[in-house]
Symmetry: C2
Subunit: 178 residues, 2 copies
Amino acid sequence: MSLRMALLGVLSAYGSASGYDLTKGFERSVAHAWQAGHSQIYPELAKMTADGLVTVEAEGARGRKIYSITPEGRAELRAWLIGHDPTGPARSEIALQAFLLPLLDPGEALAVLERLKTYAERKLAELEALWAAKHASPVPEGTSGVRFGDLALDLGIRHTRTTLQWVNDAMAQLERRA
Amino acid sequence: MSLRMALLGVLSAYGSASGYDLTKGFERSVAHAWQAGHSQIYPELAKMTADGLVTVEAEGARGRKIYSITPEGRAELRAWLIGHDPTGPARSEIALQAFLLPLLDPGEALAVLERLKTYAERKLAELEALWAAKHASPVPEGTSGVRFGDLALDLGIRHTRTTLQWVNDAMAQLERRA
DNA sequence: ACCGACATGTAAACGGTTACATGATTTG
DNA sequence: CAAATCATGTAACCGTTTACATGTCGGT
């Protein structure tokens, strides 16, 4: 369902868009919350059309199909947001490596943590750059007062900061024993 | 690969175990970092046996097969921990709902955040209880000084606390505008 | 005798990734 | 005219979930 909802959301924000646009839009906007490539998006849009959640509004140049959300689509999205409990299983390779870390001797473990640190730092810089870029331009039209995607980006930044802090603390703890 | 590594890790910590034991062990110990049910574990153990990473040490009552890790298995696990960059795509339903939240009017958005808050609170309580239970008993044998799984549990707790804080801030922000 | 926990497996379906395949239009 | 970008699709594969299927052992 999540892919569907992400597509409905982005489409709803765009007003109308092609599969191609949505693929690019995913990379730019939702990427840190949900990912999908064109090979997943095109078939899904076809299924959603069959289910009446979106319609092909027009067909442009190069076989470009322009989709827009239907009232049914809007209703489904709303219902999911209001009613769906995000129970999604939290699989994280970082957490798994953290779990298994005591199997290594302290020196090796430190090296792994060093790697995780670099990774987290890079990701944090990326997300913060995205935030800065978004907030450089003045406020565009907003549904309420909060900009589309800002809440999710904020969450992502906070999570990454937490990870970074955890790595630092874990390293300090290991060094004290080494 | 991750499932394999999680299995090798748990098996390595247990010394020896059956598929059944590992399934139960997953629920108890790695659940917050990685999940797998028996229907995924049994076939994987068979493949790992074929690949020489584990061996059937003995066959007990009720067709119970007792596995243990081989030197090759240990080597693979070590190599993965030291060499594998955790690039795993971060898909999060919470982040997705956060992303889409501005599509709702403030009252509805608040209700969604309230739900997320309850969810995060329940999860935090769960993880903290797990932590308390683990640390109630005195220190068991440890590979270094850190207990198996403690680092990952700590990370999980910190992440959940961060989520909770984010929800609270988002709610306050919305209420200021409502 | 029955129930619950132990114990192992398979199959169908689903979601996601990677690779294959094709062609139109714009820009240098 | 060549290269980049636009634009859409399909197929094979892999990992995960859910459901089906079977049987054993211990306690009541």
